[in-house]
Symmetry: C2
Amino acid sequence: MDVKILERAGSIALPFRRQASTWRPQRIWAIVSETPHSKSRRVTLADVAREVGVSTALVSIVMRGVPGASPATRDRIQQAANDLGYVPDSRARVLRQGRSQLLGVMFDVQHPFHADLLEGIYAAAEPAGYDVVLSAVAATRSEERAVNTLLADRCEALILLGPKAPKRWLATLAARIPVVVVARTLKDPAIDVVRTADAEGIQLAVDHLVGLGHTRITHIDGGDAPGATQRRRGYRSAMHRHGLDAHVQIVPGGLAEDSAARATNTLLAQKTLPTGILAFNDRCATGVLDILLRAGVAIPGQVSVVGFDDSHLAGFSHINLTTVRQDASVMAELAVDRAIQRLTHQADTPLSDAGGHQVVIPPTLVIRGTTGPIAHVLPT
Amino acid sequence: MDVKILERAGSIALPFRRQASTWRPQRIWAIVSETPHSKSRRVTLADVAREVGVSTALVSIVMRGVPGASPATRDRIQQAANDLGYVPDSRARVLRQGRSQLLGVMFDVQHPFHADLLEGIYAAAEPAGYDVVLSAVAATRSEERAVNTLLADRCEALILLGPKAPKRWLATLAARIPVVVVARTLKDPAIDVVRTADAEGIQLAVDHLVGLGHTRITHIDGGDAPGATQRRRGYRSAMHRHGLDAHVQIVPGGLAEDSAARATNTLLAQKTLPTGILAFNDRCATGVLDILLRAGVAIPGQVSVVGFDDSHLAGFSHINLTTVRQDASVMAELAVDRAIQRLTHQADTPLSDAGGHQVVIPPTLVIRGTTGPIAHVLPT
DNA sequence: ATCGCCATCTAGAACGTTCTAGTCTTCACT
DNA sequence: AGTGAAGACTAGAACGTTCTAGATGGCGAT
């Protein structure tokens, strides 16, 4: 029973946090139980220590790579750890050290922009020495549940991507742990916010279309999505600034392709089509484009379309969408930055304005192929 | 210094794993340090115990909701825990109990189908009493890194969504911990696999088109994406079965819209267009549709298009795509099931065929508006 | 010789839980 | 009145780390 055999072990046995740059297994001989993971207790520091004949403390020193061991024993211990397939237990480590060095991130599993933000958060957190723990919001998993998991996991700070939770709930949360909210407008003295200047972005789009000679410019909005209110406001004020109040038209839309497609159908049913359409985001814009193309409307010959986000979609050559760019990687970086700031200079620095920091990123307009001069000025 | 004040606390203070069905804060008075999270040590069982004047063991009993405390003290302890804002430390819990009851899931942050799978995994894991810990693969984060984090986190089993890692690496991993691979073909005695019958799915699509009178049916493939080989094979064999070998045409594509769009452009450059196009997946299909619509090709009048996945996209009324459905929630459920099976009857049951279980889900054809009878038979 | 110092290593106590093995009560049943 | 047995509670040892406070030994300088 429970015979031990020799078997090749791969690079899994590398020490925690060390990342091998190659996939090739390292040809190290390892002892593996014959019945793979039946009763096999986890390999611990004590196992390695016993194997080598030293104390657990010394093994710990070697595994962490801190000074305090001679090169010779360092090698022996490293070797033994690899052979046994030792993987440090992060939970025990966190328990012992006061700090977890953990940033908790709540995100919506279905939201493409959150995916971009996550990439940026990983990229920003790791160099700063923080690990990231994710908690997803999904159909069967509420924001509250997601946050509770993060709290139980001993995260030091929370980064919430586009939370829909009410302000007061977020406030009580912030009383307990530093909270950074991303991509949502929120004014609370205890909460840091990183978001795009939505209104400004839409204004860039309006200015662009007006500059091309458009006057009948319609906005298909995002309903109650985060940022939708700001974008509506930006649209109205820009139209007003250009003296186009008479042409203001806001059609109810939503977050995704289908609602924008429905909105476009109602536009087609009108006597006159607008010459410019500002969609709530890129996904909406593709819905608009799809319907217009099917109806035989030339783009940008008859109608110009502008999106929002500059997601991967927008750049595809066949879509080639003019859009307002939100820089996910910058937002992610700033969010991580705010969280770490809060953690390092906690109460001592009152953060200049003594309230939640509002970091507002200026958007930029990316002009591609779906916008052009208005038809009757320059007929194609 | 460090004055304590009274402040309202919200439902955050709910016990771990209990989920409140409402957002409304519960109007409980809580003591919160004035400088929110400066030096404030985490609230522990000992704090609650001291407050109430009982042992930590008793508080633990109450927090876990196991028998062993009188209703009266249960209330007092519950109350005190809420007041202090106690949140159990999951890391300490896992450390003490042998088991972590944790399933580690590796996923690609940019992959929409993985999002659907995640939803299903959460839905399946929680009723079974398992928690889910996520580890993302992203541009700056390799699969190896993602897996190492999960191992360090004491997960009991790993569910890998569409892993690209080489087979041998996965095999060494499986020697250490139960591994379930989802959405990738892999034959390894130690690894469970849950995937869709890709070839069969494409065959359904071919049969459907042939039934409508099509013969010139082209496949825009997925390059080296998981499943692409199987789908190519399925296409070839189905065409052969219908005696259409002469019409076999495979155009190199990829995972996303843009590559499929390029492939479609090369088709348009040919003398004759196929009458049926099988795209690698739904995203590819939208790329195809977009290009064809711009070129003025009637759908399904002149060309029928079939996707794969039945993602959210496909169902949108304006796309209304005929597609091969992969059921993400079923796949997720089965993956969780396999993992738990491995954990519960570990070595004792040799799993019938004494090897890695291959769970292959039959796909179904969802017929929508992008396919129709061939033009010269029934001209529109 | 003695001193101090560095490098190397170790014992043992944390960390916040849960679990085992109890100790008291109380109370029903002979 | 005596005997269990159940109920309510507690002490103290785990779990796998890291950290603090040493111990040991070698070695150069006094």
